[in-house]
C-alpha cells in the first residue's frame, strides 16, 4: 500500500489570488535574493532584466475614470504540455539542458549544460526565460550574501524560475535522513516568493495532494491559467472574482465566453 502511494507523482503548482496581490514586489526580490539573481547598473530595459518572478501591471485599457488595473506575478509556469512533459521549452531544448521532472512536475534548467541557443526562450509565450547577456558582477563585498544553494550563472546561458528546487532537495534530504518522517509535509517545501508575499496571495503545494491547499484552490470557480487554450497546461493558477481579470488571462475571439476555452489535457 505504501509502495503504491509512493508511486503517485507529485505535481507542484501555485495558486495566486490576484484580488489580494498588491504589486509590492516582495516576491520578485525574495526570488532574486533566494536564487542569486544578478543585477546590473541599468535594469530599466525590462527586455534584458533577469526577473524569474515578474509582476506585470495590467490595465483594462479604458479611459479615466473607468480604468481598472490588476497586478499579476508571473513565475515560470512549469508547463506540463498536452501530454505530461511536453512543455514548450523542454520539447525544443536541443541539449536536454532543460528537463521535465516527472516526480515533481518541475521544469528544470541545467546551467552547465545549456549552451545558450535560446530556442527555449523563443518557445516560451510567458517570457519566463532569461538570458545572461552579461557576466554577473556583484559590487565589491556584496558577493558575501550569495547563497551556496544556487550556483550563480555564467554569461551566455538561459535561466528561469525553478520553483526553488534546491529547497525541495533540502527538504527531501531531511526526509531521507529522518527515521520517523516518511513524506514531505505541505510546509516543508515552499518557494521563496510564497513565503515572502505579505498579502498571502500565493499558495504553493502539490496539486495532486488532496491535503494541500492548492489542490482545492485550483478548482475554484474563479481559477484560470494563462494562455490555457494553447495547451501549455501550466501549473500556475490564478484566481480573481473580476471577470475582466480572468479574461485577460487568455486570448478570446469575439463572442467567446470567459473561461470557455479550457484546453483539454491528458490527466495525470
Amino acid at each position: 500500500m505504501k509502495k503504491e502511494h509512493d508511486k503517485v507523482n507529485k505535481k507542484y503548482g501555485m495558486v495566486v489570488d490576484l484580488d489580494k496581490c498588491t504589486g509590492c514586489g516582495s516576491c520578485m526580490v525574495a526570488c532574486m535574493s533566494e536564487n542569486n539573481v544578478p543585477f546590473k547598473e541599468d535594469e530599466s530595459n525590462k527586455l534584458d532584466s533577469i526577473t524569474w518572478m515578474r509582476v506585470y501591471k495590467v490595465s483594462n485599457k479604458k479611459p479615466y475614470p473607468n480604468n481598472e488595473v490588476f497586478y499579476i506575478p508571473r513565475p515560470c509556469q512549469h508547463c506540463g504540455g498536452q501530454h505530461e512533459g511536453h512543455s514548450p521549452c523542454v520539447s525544443v531544448c536541443p541539449a536536454t539542458a532543460t528537463d521535465y521532472d516527472y516526480t515533481t512536475g518541475i521544469v528544470s534548467q541545467v546551467y552547465t549544460r545549456c549552451f545558450g541557443c535560446r530556442y527555449c526562450m523563443a518557445a516560451c509565450p510567458y517570457h519566463a526565460r532569461y538570458f545572461n547577456w552579461w557576466d554577473p558582477v556583484w559590487p565589491d563585498g556584496m558577493e558575501k550574501y550569495l547563497s551556496p544553494n544556487v550556483s550563480p550563472r555564467m554569461r551566455g546561458i538561459v535561466e528561469k524560475c525553478s520553483f526553488c528546487f534546491h529547497r525541495y532537495q533540502v527538504a527531501m534530504e531531511e526526509v531521507y535522513g529522518s527515521d520517523d518522517k516518511e513524506a514531505l509535509e505541505e510546509g516543508d517545501y515552499q518557494t521563496a516568493c510564497t513565503q515572502a508575499c505579505p498579502a498571502g496571495a500565493i499558495t504553493f503545494g502539490d496539486l495532486n495532494d488532496e491535503t494541500h491547499a492548492v489542490h482545492k484552490l485550483k478548482d475554484d470557480k474563479n481559477a484560470f491559467r494563462l494562455l490555457e487554450r494553447l495547451g501549455t497546461n501550466t501549473k500556475i493558477y490564478y484566481i480573481s472574482e473580476r471577470e475582466w481579470v480572468r479574461r485577460a488571462g487568455d486570448n478570446y475571439n469575439p463572442g467567446e465566453k470567459t473561461g470557455s476555452v479550457k484546453y483539454k489535457t491528458e490527466g495525470h
Partner: protein
C-alpha cells in the same frame, strides 16, 4: 605568375586585379571577424537581441542561407539520383554555392550561441525531440557531404591533379558520387524540414505554430519544398551574376532553362501549398488560439504589416512561378533575372517572417509588441560569411574547372 594553377584553356584576369578584388572583400571579412571576436570575447551583449528577441538576425540569416543553399541538394538530387545529365554543367557551381551557404550557417551558429565552447553539447547531450537537434545533426552531416562533393573539384586543380593519388581519389569519388548525393539529399530534406519545424513546433507561439502530421508541422514540408523550389533560382541568380562579373557566358542556356523550368514547377506547387497553409492557419489555427489573423499584423505597419504576407506569397511567390513556368517568359533574360531575384527574396522573406514575427508579437494579452534592430556587430557577422563566400567562389573560379562549358563557350585563341 599563377598561370600554372589556372585551368587549361580558359582566361583569367591578372593576378594583381584578382588580389585587389580579394583584398577589398577581405577587408569586409576582417570587419566581420572583428565583430565576431567581440561577440566571443565580450558575449552576446554586443548584439541588440534581448529576452524577447532571443532569435533574431542571425537565426534568420541561418535559415535564409540554408534555404537558398538548397540549390545544391536539389540539383544534386536531379543530377545524380534522377539522372538529368544536362545539369552536370551547373552542379559544380551549385555545390560550391552550397558549401559557402552551409559554411556560413555553421559559422553564424557558432557566434550565435551564448557558450560556443559548449556547442558540441547539441550532439553529445542530444535531445532527439528537438527540431534544432535534427538541424544540427543533418546540417553538419550534410556539410560533410558537400565538402565531399567539393573535394573532387579541388583535386581537379591543374597542379593537384598531377599527383597520381589525388587524381585517382578524384576519379573514385566521382564514381560513387551518386551515393553521396543521395545521402546528402536525404539529410538535406530532413534539415531543411527541421528548420521549418523549428518555428512550426512552437505551440506557445500562435504566429509560428502549425499543425502537421505525426511530429512534423506543415512548415517542415513547406521548408523542404520551398528550399528545393527557390534554391535553384538562387543558383541561377549567382551564375548570372558571375557571368556578369566575369563578362563571359559560363553555362549554356538550355541548362539554365531546364533548371528554371523545374524551379518554376516547384515554386508553383510550393506557393499553392503555402497559400493553403496560410489560409488554414488564418482561419483555423489562429482562431483556435484566440487570435484574429489581423492581430498578427496590426502593430507597426512597416515592421509587421500585412504587406509582408502579400509580398511573400503574391509578389515573390506567384509572380516568379508564372514567369518560370512559361517558356517564353523564362527565356526572356530580364524576366528570368526578375524571377530569380523575386524567388530568392521570397524565400528569405518567408524565413524572416517565421523567425521575427513570432518573437515580436505579444501572446499574453498584457504583453507588448517588441521592435528589434540589429547592432552593427550582428550585421557585420552576418555579412562576414557572405564576403567569405565571395572570396571562396572567386578563388574556386580562378583555379578550379568549375564550369565545364566555359572552354567551349569562350574559346581562347592561342
Amino acid at each position: 605568375m599563377d598561370s600554372a594553377l589556372i585551368p587549361k584553356g580558359v582566361e583569367r584576369c591578372s593576378l594583381k586585379r584578382f588580389l585587389l578584388g580579394q583584398a577589398i572583400v577581405g577587408a569586409v571579412v576582417l570587419w566581420g571577424v572583428y565583430a565576431m571576436i567581440l561577440c566571443w570575447m565580450k558575449g552576446l551583449n554586443q548584439t541588440n537581441m534581448n529576452d524577447s528577441f532571443g532569435f533574431a538576425l542571425w537565426i534568420w540569416a541561418d535559415l535564409a542561407v540554408i534555404a537558398v543553399g538548397g540549390g545544391a541538394f536539389f540539383t544534386g538530387l536531379l543530377r545524380y539520383v534522377i539522372g538529368l545529365k544536362d545539369l552536370k554543367n551547373i552542379i559544380n557551381y551549385a555545390v560550391l554555392i552550397g558549401v559557402c551557404c552551409y559554411g556560413s550557417a555553421l559559422l553564424i551558429l557558432a557566434i550565435d550561441i551564448g557558450q560556443p565552447l559548449r556547442g558540441w553539447f547539441i550532439f553529445w547531450h542530444a535531445n532527439v525531440h528537438s527540431m534544432l537537434t535534427e538541424v544540427a545533426f543533418c546540417l553538419s552531416l550534410y556539410m560533410a557531404v558537400l565538402i565531399i562533393e567539393y573535394i573532387p573539384l579541388l583535386l581537379e586543380n591543374r597542379q593537384v591533379d598531377k599527383i597520381p593519388f589525388f587524381h585517382n581519389l578524384s576519379h573514385n569519388m566521382h564514381v560513387v558520387m551518386a551515393v553521396f548525393a543521395a545521402t546528402g539529399a536525404f539529410l538535406s530534406c530532413f534539415h531543411q524540414g527541421s528548420l521549418g519545424g523549428v518555428s512550426g513546433v512552437l505551440f506557445g507561439r500562435p504566429f509560428a505554430f502549425r499543425e502537421g502530421i505525426f511530429i512534423w508541422p506543415w512548415t517542415f514540408f513547406l521548408f523542404t519544398w520551398s528550399a528545393a523550389a527557390c534554391g535553384p533560382c538562387f543558383t541561377i541568380l549567382v551564375t548570372k551574376i558571375t557571368e556578369k562579373i566575369t563578362n563571359k557566358k559560363l553555362v549554356k542556356d538550355n541548362v539554365i532553362d531546364l533548371l528554371a523550368k523545374i524551379s518554376g514547377w516547384m515554386i508553383c506547387s510550393y506557393i499553392i501549398a503555402k497559400t493553403i497553409d496560410t489560409l488554414y492557419w488564418a482561419f483555423v489555427t489562429a482562431p483556435h488560439a484566440g487570435f484574429n489573423v489581423m492581430d498578427f499584423y496590426d502593430d507597426n505597419f512597416w515592421a509587421h504589416g500585412i504587406w509582408i504576407l502579400i509580398m511573400e506569397i503574391v509578389i515573390c511567390g506567384y509572380i516568379p512561378a508564372i514567369i518560370l513556368l512559361r517558356e517564353k517568359t523564362r527565356q526572356n533574360q530580364k524576366l528570368l533575372w526578375t524571377a530569380a531575384i523575386l524567388a530568392t527574396i521570397g524565400i528569405c522573406l518567408n524565413r524572416w517572417v517565421l523567425v521575427m514575427q513570432p518573437m515580436s508579437m505579444p501572446v499574453m494579452t498584457f504583453d507588448e509588441w517588441v521592435l528589434y534592430l540589429p547592432s552593427w556587430q550582428e550585421i557585420a557577422t552576418t555579412i562576414l560569411p557572405i564576403a567569405g563566400g565571395i572570396m571562396v567562389i572567386a578563388f574556386s573560379y580562378r583555379y578550379l574547372p568549375i564550369f565545364p562549358q566555359e572552354q567551349e563557350l569562350n574559346p581562347v585563341e592561342d
